[in-house]
């Protein structure tokens, strides 16, 4: 069960405002990447968000570029999860594979207000908010395992008995 404060946003938030393209090839340090999270959408976010906070948003969160920093910027900023009405396909996969919990639950999005406390229960697949409960489609053991392991590469290393506590940094290169 994780509990965090809600940051609420609308529909169609694209990867450019989640993490501006102009930093894509220049910033490498997690702290630098985190400092620009949601810069062009909500300038207060990167300054004021606390570890464990949850983003709640509308439809098609993360549409646009396939850049993985649109996921890692939030993860490095300490965001516990994004709850949305829907996710862009590549963003959703990048999220899970980078170890960020993404939950599709339109009813909870409609009920949530900025500043609310939201609880997300796994593996029960249940959101608690303002005394109400909202079930969401369950994640498979694999998806949960990937999130817990901190990403797909680490997850596979663990699964194959190659686990190490060191993060493995890989670049898909070009």
């Amino acid at each position: 069960m994780m509990v965090g404060k809600v940051w609420k946003y609308g529909d169609g938030v694209n990867t450019d405002v989640i993490f501006p393209g102009k930093y894509t090839y220049t910033l490498k340090e997690p702290s630098e990447i985190a400092a620009h999270a949601l810069e062009d959408l909500d300038p207060n976010f990167a300054r004021e968000a606390r570890a464990g906070d949850v983003i709640v948003a509308g439809r098609n969160w993360g549409n646009g570029s396939s850049r993985e920093q649109a996921v890692t910027a939030l993860k490095y900023r300490g965001i516990a999860a994004v709850v949305a009405k829907s996710f862009a396909r590549i963003y959703f996969r990048n999220g899970i594979n980078q170890g960020l919990l993404l939950v599709t639950c339109p009813e909870a999005v409609d009920a949530a207000q900025a500043g609310d406390m939201i609880e997300i229960g796994l593996p029960a697949s249940l959101i608690r908010l303002g005394g109400r409960e909202f079930p969401f489609p369950p994640l498979s053991p694999t998806a949960l395992g990937i999130i817990e392991a901190g990403g797909l590469v680490q997850h596979i290393r663990r699964k194959l008995g190659l686990a190490s506590t060191e993060a493995v940094i890989v670049s898909s290169g070009e």
């Binding site: 829907s86 862009a88 990048n94 489609p137 369950p138 498979s140 694999t142 194959l160 890989v170 070009e174």
Partner: protein
Amino acid sequence: MMDTVAGTTRSRGYTFAEKALARAAGLPSAAAGQVVDARPDVALSHDNTAAIARIFRAIGLERVAIPDKICVTLDHAVPAPTARHAQNHAEVRAFVREQGIENFFEVGRGVCHQVFGEEALVLPGQLILGSDSHTTHFGWMGAFGAGVGRTEMAAIWATGELWLRVPESIKVIVTGELGRGITAKDLCLDLIGRLGADGGLYQSVEFHGEGIARLSLESRMVIPNMMAELGAKNAWLPPDEAVFDYLAERRARRQKSDVGSQKLDILANAIYPDGDAVYANTHTMDASRIELTVACPHAVDNARPLREVAGTRVHQAFIGTCTNGRLEDLAAAAAILKGKRVATGTRLLIIPASAEVYGDAIRLGHAQTLMDAGAVFGVPGCGPCMGNHMGVPAPGEVCISTANRNFKGRMGQPDADIYLASPAVVAASAVAGVIADPREIE
């Protein structure tokens, strides 16, 4: 149909995506929204195989888990245009040799999506995942094809499986018959123009109706290929006798077995949605109302009727790619160019989607007809589709192409305009030197 999914009882049928992913995950059923661990029947990669191999090694493994399911072509920049590309090809060859990957196709065999169909390496009802966004292509035969990232492909090589979210489905019912000179490409551009580049976001797009059954297999291949441009995860067309015959014959030839038993086997594994499946949306298209359609710069959903852009000066006309580089496409172009010449100041580049297509076009005389008209042929593969080599436009030039994407810079030149159209429209435009209606070329 009554079933229990995720602890809740539901009384409705299943979509193609729900059935196909349940099968691939070894589950009795699966529902849209559920995440499953699916085991692909085929794992596709191409020139990016070397980059994936580097990620694979970073996982810490020596041997891929599924050498018999991995299929690799060299197609994106072939033959190697630079020393760096040559080095990349060499790494791919070394990797497939080392890993015992037998389904490897050399430079010049053709574009991955076309080749794996010709080789009957993918069958109806199967799951094919590819590190290529147009892996949606395999929906033409009723397979579930989806694109994945490079890290994900490395994960598939390592474990044989990948997590997938079961998508919601859209149903597109195509009624009626396409008019004279109108093709599956026009149908796709029309649909994408109407619904937008995110009109099928994350969804499985199922095509139904007699308008689909009437199409040749080669025309059907255009449709799921183009649905990547609708944001779709996969697309599905109902497999019929024509599909089973095509695959059974090719599989029998490759495996030196008999066609009849191959066909029974393929047929038994085909998957169809239930009549009472639930769809997020249903669209009905009357094929007879579709016009010649062109996608204008710089977005596929910037689709307009050809008549609105007819007369636009064209410097390069390109017929090829996994979308429209097949025999019927070259035949359509040859029918228009027979006895005519490509306009002065315009060049026509033709890149067959595969060596088989090229051979057939030579045997049937289309290649000679096209060359007599002034067309130039390139080695089967992706050609200039994504700007790697062989046909990059100059700044300020206009290219009309049969490909599936016209994003700014897609063909290697950000300062060029790319229009997308059917092979007949591209051929007519090559003759006229401007964007032209093939029905008006005399």
